[in-house]
Symmetry: C3
Subunit: 507 residues, 3 copies
């Protein structure tokens, strides 16, 4: 780090003259030094932290709680880290040797990015569960799957008009970063250093690619995957934020994964929105009925829930699919959940990296068997039965099974029409995503079949399932696709027969 002498003297003199904020008593000297300046220069994050549990508790105090009440999973946190509150320096100085993004800052080595590997110092169980999840693998599940990365490339490439032909240029890192990798995560690498202008003069810092980003499957410069801040936003890192559906809704919304949209339309969402200011998002463990009277996303999918006697209704898991047996997100059909979080190596009967074949058969070896599915279903049923009878729950899940069957048939009809289009030469199968009939086919499975399944699964979004993005759209899309095949108009998007090959990775 290089600072002008003038700037340095401002830095050193100002805080001494007037410390801008009070810090907790057991704040480490290093963190105090961070805050002396940052309270002035980035007051937003300093106050966010000051109001956080990290600023109010030391790891050793956290370890004194009863096991079910603990928010920390390390059996012990030894040394100074255990004895001070969890401040700037405690998190931004971990494992500096592994951090390509560490740099000299005010006489200390500081990591720009705090990663799940760093958080694992105190939260190893959560980090390990997360590491095995589809979420932590979200970058590779997209970018290392040749079929999905072709969809990304086709989607985000600038097209030039050459007469009535459209010529795709290679997709830019920025376009992927603004879109798919915004949620899936970018690959953050250190490309040397750069100088930035700051209030204190020029500062030399690591030059990071794909930064800023907090996608849930981000590739970090310490070699780890993911971003805890995706769901526990900085610098509060709170369970309260993560338990509210607004957090999940950033990525899980229409048109492709409309969990948030259908939740709002459901009775669960109705009750949540009407009473959200009255509930307790802080209690650990989370007491069904006492703390909340209708579930948020976290309640059904990953929180530790207990009943009135303190008995566990559901274990906490940071593998967010741990209570799911069927994967609604059809690629291209509904199917049993995959056995592992990293899905790029799945192969269907046709050898393609898809969980099902074009005719709908699951890639069985890679997916949960029926016993494992049944076990998962029982975990979720126990959550439902915190409020609902066994008969209610059974009726609900039978309805979901019907929705899966029927949407799969509506996708099969679209697939058959698209294959007819290929055979008739109306579109070129090489890139199955870039011509008009193909885009209708993508709409059918990615937008409409998914929407109907989510609406059915998440306890009711009848209008969504009817007219918004469900049966109406499934029916209309089939009609349009049939008409295209019948009348022989293609609407080919690209001048070439496929999009340019794109290297996985970047930004």
């Amino acid at each position: 780090m290089r600072l002008s002498v003038a700037a340095l003297s401002i830095l050193l003199s100002l805080p001494a003259a007037a410390p801008a904020v009070e810090v907790p008593a057991n704040t480490s000297p290093q963190t105090r030094a961070c805050i002396d300046c940052h309270a002035i220069h980035t007051p937003g994050i300093v106050h966010d932290w000051l109001r956080s549990r990290h600023a109010a508790t030391t790891p050793q105090a956290a370890l004194a709680k009863a096991p079910l009440e603990r928010r920390i999973s390390a059996p012990e946190v030894a040394g100074p880290l255990g004895e001070t509150v969890v401040g700037c320096y405690e998190c931004h100085s971990r494992l500096v040797e592994q951090h390509q993004d560490s740099f000299e800052h005010m006489g200390r080595r500081i990591n720009v990015i705090v990663t799940p590997e760093d958080c694992a110092s105190c939260h190893p169980t959560e980090a390990a569960q997360f590491a095995g999840s589809k979420k932590a693998n979200a970058w590779g599940n997209l970018e290392l799957n040749p079929l999905y990365s072709l969809l990304v490339e086709t989607l985000t490439s600038v097209k030039e008009a050459d007469g009535t032909k459209l010529r795709p240029l290679p997709a830019s890192p920025e376009a992927k970063w603004d879109t798919c990798l915004g949620c899936h995560g970018t690959r953050v690498e250190v490309a040397g250093t750069k100088q930035v202008d700051t209030a204190l003069g020029p500062l030399t810092v690591p030059n990071l690619t794909g930064w800023p980003n907090q996608g849930v499957g981000r590739l970090n410069p310490d070699g780890s995957r993911g971003s805890c801040a995706s769901c526990h936003p900085r610098h509060a890192f709170s369970i309260e934020d993560a338990r509210q559906p607004y957090t999940c809704s950033q990525c899980h919304l229409d048109p492709d994964v409309p969990a948030w949209n259908v939740y709002k339309e459901s009775k669960h969402g109705n009750i949540y929105e009407a009473r959200e200011a009255q509930w307790n998002y802080e209690a650990v463990p989370w007491r069904v009925g006492r703390d909340f009277q209708a579930p948020t996303c976290a309640a059904c999918h990953n929180s530790l829930l207990v009943d009135d006697r303190g008995k566990t209704v559901a274990e906490r898991s940071h593998d967010f699919g741990a209570r799911l047996w069927v994967r609604l997100f059809g690629l291209i059909y509904s199917h049993p959940q995959p056995k592992q979080g990293a899905t790029q190596d799945l192969r269907n009967a046709e050898g393609l990296p898809l969980p099902t074949s074009f005719t709908g058969e699951p890639a069985a070896g890679y997916l949960l068997g029926s016993d494992a599915q049944e076990g998962r279903r029982r975990l979720m049923e126990r959550v439902c039965q915190g409020c609902h009878s066994a008969s209610w729950t059974q009726g609900h899940f039978e309805k979901l099974a019907a929705a899966n069957r029927e949407t799969d048939r509506m996708v099969k009809a679209a697939t058959a029409l698209m294959q007819a289009a290929w055979e008739a030469g109306l579109a070129d199968q090489k890139n199955p995503f870039d011509e008009a009939p193909e885009m209708l086919w993508v709409r059918q499975w990615l937008f409409y079949a998914n929407s109907l399944r989510y609406a059915s699964a998440m306890c009711g979004a009848p209008d969504y399932a009817a007219f918004k993005n469900g049966w109406w759209s499934l029916t209309e899309t089939l009609a349009k696709l049939a008409e295209k095949v019948r009348t022989g108009t293609s609407g080919k998007v690209s001048a070439s027969s496929g999009a340019p090959a794109s290297e996985p990775g970047g930004p």
Copy 2:
């Protein structure tokens, strides 16, 4: 009910050892018995009830309030029902002789479903008003109207591709239940019994069709219609939930009835969202200005409102159309509100079960006359004038009248084009909903004309009316329809000339 001996001993021993929750002093012994187990097995609903007004008040205490402050409309509630708080047993044991869904449970007869007829024990006025509303008749208004039930069938049937033809299969009960009947209500009937797995072992319970469902016009197994829980969700059954727009928004939203969408865009919605945590949703009667400063859905449409002197501004009504004179929800044109809640028997000049003819003339004998309309309009104007001048109100409703006239003309243009398509053989009139030109015509009246009318009526959603689902879409749809007719492409959806006949009913 059959329980294993082991399960029964758990049941009997556990609560005795450690009652999981405290219940109010004047809880009936029967309800105490319910809660002893259910606090452990369904703690969510037990706590929801414990926080409710039903758990805090006996009917006789409720009757002691001044008339305008009462939430109970029975002149008296005699016997034990009046003297205990309103708990599990009080509601789930009413009128068991009428309840096909009652079953033996722990030595008592319990009804699975609590219906408006049961609630009428204490709330007879509300039940009677509701029974006469379009809401209570929502199942029949859809399923017993041959034209609308054909639309439901066409919408929700799986289509198979046979070459480029699409062959509809009969729509499943589950598909209707996930969609239209999610809001309109299913027909819940008892089809024998079934055995379900519970935490206490297998349990024999009534096997209900179309269950779970809380659609507002549900056909109940006691012969009654509707579900109070649609708007007063279990097990709080609160006025606070019902007064918040999140409740209404479950069914009244885009694309067909976008009341919620346009409310959010209006100044009323803006003020509500900015201040919702500060208002009093509990006060009965509801004091304009003191308790809230901008209306929610309930304020305009059905709540009892008083002014600063306690004088009634608007009477409470559970017929939610009681302050409405014109029906915006065009089927297919705007028209005077129907005289009665059950609309399946309306006949237009062409003999079809529609409130207007294809050329827009109202089915006069079935609809409000101008005096009755004027009376309804004055009721609503009094609500508006709780905040707005007479001049403001007049200007607003004149603008709405223009929106109705103009959207009707935009629908007429679409109807003319569709008739041209029929005459040219581009589509088959037999099923007017299943071919591409017809689906554009449905969009015109069901999505876009309705949207513009709601946007105009509900005090402003300019962008919605302009670009979202209003004028832009009305104009573009006409252009597409004209083009289809001109170029002679049909996009016929079904291989047969009509959808298969569907029996009204089910699930």
Copy 3:
């Protein structure tokens, strides 16, 4: 004003008998008289005011605050206006000579509409900043720009079907008022008087055109422009409402300006929604971190922000573009912000009233130069750096620049295809908005390119940018447009070669 004797006696007797509400001690006698009646007849607005800062403070008390804490910008407020709370009469009686909308009411002259010119008595700095903004000029920017007013006319005109031709009728004042002018503002003029029915009998009041309306660029009957109530809704006129995004969201939402939609999807919106009940929207100045931990619209765009030492991070401005350098709202391409708020006189290289030419060159003389742009960018960066590092901010804005470049190229491809359609006679260039290929072209820049730019600018709405209204739609629209040109189908909307000429103005 004419009231029947009976009504007058009610008016005079009732309040004397029982004043409905208590008013603050230093309320003027005139305002007391207003409230005596209006507490009964419009209790909603009376209570809204009673809870407001205007009811709790006199201008002279407001002037006693430290400069940064002041919500009033007049150096002094002399006479009775300074000494009483700011009530009905204080605002509705200002500058009556200029107010065409003033009328005799209960013995005093009352203005129906309170305008920015009236508010300037106490808030002159805010009024002056606002007067120079695009917002205050929103009516003229639309209605006095011949190209944009043609778009308005084309959009909002009823079309009649004449065979397969569509014949547009002149757009009605009401249709424009329900749509574009709902946000941009109507022209409110006094067209004599009219009699309205009130609870007190008939009342003669000014007959106002285009009323009610609170569009941000409304033309007022005192000759001023705008409505402060657009963002400070009546009758609280609070800073708390204006600082919450629900206020801005009324006009800034999808599909054309989806600021609200992308904010909700961003991490900023996530944090706001999860914690909105806990923040301080009242503090002046607004303290970054202490009062809020993630920005609302106002924080980034116009509020006075200070750091932990009370030092100004950003000055307050009621010119809402004051911190913006690039205009995302592409008409038809992104471009430097215009130098002045009134944009109808801009001319591009082709002489059209657009900020860029059809090939994308900015109308340089009318737009900010690079130094001025750089100055604006630095203002915004200081806001960002209240929480984020310089490196983070730099990375973010580089990504935005890429999104602008790439969306401009996607619009250029659409423009090239539309020009090909014109040359092939598939559409008529005279009205560039009314035929099917042209409507696709409008979608490309007005809906999709704008959406992608907003998603990139406002810190992340990845799904919106990918599948909702961004890259997917940009790509699909190009494909449809290319197909239309290739296959030679036009989908002409109007029978005539252009929409009927429309006079700017009205309602």
